[in-house]
Amino acid sequence: MNLLRILLARCAALFRRGKLDADLNEELRAHIELAIHENLHHGMSPGEARTAALRAFGGVTQTRETYREQRSFPLLQQLGRDLRFGLRQIRKSPGFSVVVIVTLALGVGANTTVFSIVDAVMLRPLPYAQPQQLVEVSSADAGSPVARSVSYPDFFDWREQNHSFEHLVSYDDNSYTLTGITRAVHLDAEIVSWDLLPMLGIQPELGRGFVAGEEKLGSRVVLISHSLWMSQFGGDTSIVGRTIHLGGEAFTVVGVMPPSFRFPVDKPQNSLWTTLAVDSDALKNRGSHSQAVMGRLRPGVSVAQADQEMKAIAGRLAMQYPDTNTHNNSAKVQLELRAILGETRTLMLVVLGAVAFVLLIACGNIANLQLARVRDRQREIAVRCALGATRASVLRQLITESLVLSIAGGLVGCAVAFVSVPGVLALIGNSVPRAANAGVDLGVLGFALATSLLSGLVFGIVPATAASKTDLVKTLQRGGQARIYGHDWLRMAVLVAQVALGVVLTAGAGLLTTSFVKLIRTDEGFNPDHVLTFAFDTPDSSYKNRRPQVYRQYFEKLRALPGVESAAGSMILPMTDDDAHISFENPERPVAKGLRPNAELMPVTPGFFQTMQISQIEGRDFTEADNMQAPQVMIVNQAFVKTYFPGEDPLGKKLKPGAGNGSPDGPPWRQIIGVVGNVRHSATQREMQPAMYLPASQLPNWCCVSSVVRTSVDPISLEPAVRKLVASMDSDIPVTDVRTMPDMISMRLAQPRFTTVLLGSFSVLSLILTVVGLYGVMAYSVTQRTREIGLRFALGAQRGAVLGMVLRTAATLLGAGIAIGLLAALAFGPILAMMLYGTGPRNPAVLAAVTVVTALAGLLAAYIPAARAASVDPMRALRTE
């Protein structure tokens, strides 16, 4: 209470200094006058009375000083004085200040931008209750680090047998067409087990969550998102309990989720959640691995304990069900946030490291500038010392100046971040989970401030210490031109470090660029130009078993559209990162059921290879005649032949892929009728996978094929026509995902593109900063040595020799920096390995290029001051001092 009152009084005093000083003066004057008055009464002469009054009072000035200290915060006021002085210094040398502020603003701006994204992606907790207890559980093959999806029967066994989890929840992506409203819409959905909400610790905004009984077959209940509730149902609270139509089936809405609810976090567009009751086909199939699994650990159970238990359970299941689980004999439990980030974590850390390098290089530049300037200010500092400034006060003053500069740089840096964050986010697209939430908020601004202050200390403390050690007498004796001995090596060391950091950064950027160019130039195995893709559902409710005819008629109409050269359908589109794997039986190599090999499965319609311009190596394409009544057939790719029929002719061989076509005898034997070229399924795929193509017309119960259209006109211009065509067949089917193939590829390359662009910009920035720094150091050193150089000329030195002398210094520094940088690049390269395609992490061509570029840029920067040194006029140089 007391303390608070005093503090308040002192704070108030800060702002009324003038008035309070006047009051004090008047009070003291009154005191003295009263004393004189009394002394006069006692019969003193006026002179005596005054002297006696002052003597009794003691020092007026001291009193005033103590009084002021008592009144407010003396340290704060001193800081204010230092700040004002610092600002005056900055105004006095605007050029220097602008260079420092801009350099720092670039460094801090880049760091703040990256940090705002790292913060959103990695640091913010998941938006659920006690997120540190949430883990991802996946299936695995013992000895392989790859996490696999889980089958429903396995999930049910896990759920029943474990003792580690409070809740264990399966989830899988899905989508529905919502009908029965003005215009049918396509919505992303998630199939989950009943206890999703209890596991996440989240309540619906309206209504209730699922109950255990709603996992029962035939149950059709749905939770809807807040935004869907608003956009399609006008926020009507009577929605709970109402029936809505999804894919032609009636679902009861049981609840509305709050606006901030996202599940999974990397699928913010999800607007429906249903129970796994809708997945009737997969519920009993132990071989169909489709589910992701998330769990909440029981209190006191660690991730490692859960991991151990789940591994044991998976091992037991593999013994129990060898046919399906031999390759799923283990499990893996990891923290949910870590599972969501996956390899993105490394990527974020690499970018964060790179941007920290930029800041270090920037600080190096500023430190060198400060060192040079402090030398020029020797005289001023010496004079201040002579007038009684202590070493501490000089140090304090210089650091305050640095801090003032750093705060100014930090403020501009924040502005840079504000501008650049949206740009970087656009570059990232949706290639990094949770990045979209990034923004410059208070925490990020705090980071920017802390970074700038830290930088200010880093680049301020060395020059300040150097300056405060000034030898007063010597400096003044020499007219203020004294050198600070022993600090040239400091400038040189800073420079070497900058060059080394720059080389590491540029090498990293070089590797990523090389890899990115390789990615762009990679042959996808098809021709993406002038290809339009889009999708629409054919729900089981009205299309089951009718699909082959419906699709045949639809594709005929589609091919007839003006501008369409050819068109076909495929259940899975290349370059979408989508895939389906299925095991197959090969009578020539019988193995136990659980050990059967598997390959990518691609149901397509006739004309797919022609439309995509995938090369037909052998045999024939599917035709309309390959229907349910005809012999069952398949086509394989070259990778399949290479893996399973090396050196053999695959045509005519029969295999049994485990894909049921609705017949009660199970999957049929299929004859291989053709071989096609390999196609990339993902833009960042490292190896071509064996694939099996099956005619969609021989899988009538499989939903659904996406359309690919090769056009003679701009592909996107066909969008209205295809929408009209689909609507004319069924007005309740919305067309979705209308994209050109080049756009789709570009979307898939977002992640490598953004890392390449960011690291590329950082390395260019670092190169510029390094070159500027080198130029500054060389130019300054030449100016300092003007007299020496003049003397050399006077003694007969050749211009070439002087030029060589300066360049040699620069070359030595560069050489040392590059050598250290190359060693570091070789050591740290492997960190990048997972981000690289088509190049190793120690690519000699890249390192050579980096060396050449850095050396050339550096020598060029040194040449200008060197040439100036060589053109020094000896007479003038000798007269300079």
Partner: protein, 112 residues
């Protein structure tokens, strides 16, 4: 400075000021200083000026109030008076001081 005079102990000056105001009512700085000098006789060596930081300290704590008024010499001067809190604090501080004094006295008493 006289060898036999004591410096004013830190903290005791505050109590002296409070007691003075209690006894004399509203008073200006000079008056307070004179009164303390008179009461202590010649036992204390005190610069009159030291009264002012003490007055400020008490004012910041809210124990005394200050008001501009007119002095006996017909001059504007700042008059200090006890606040409500100040009156209460006097008792506390007096007890406090008496306890310390008593303790000190026990230490200084010739041991038997």
């Amino acid at each position: 400075m006289g060898e036999n005079k004591s410096d004013v102990l830190q903290g005791t000056l505050d109590l002296m000021v409070l007691k003075t105001l209690e006894a004399m009512g509203p008073l200006h700085g000079y008056g307070i200083a004179r009164r303390i000098e008179q009461v202590s006789g010649d036992a204390l060596s005190m610069n009159q000026g030291t009264i002012y930081p003490a007055l400020l300290r008490l004012e910041q704590r809210g124990w005394i109030k200050a008001e501009w008024g007119t002095s006996e010499a017909n001059r504007r001067a700042k008059f200090y008076s006890l606040s409500r809190i100040g009156r209460k604090k006097i008792e506390e501080e007096t007890e406090n001081w008496e306890r310390i004094a008593a303790t000190m006295a026990r230490f200084l008493a010739p041991s038997n």
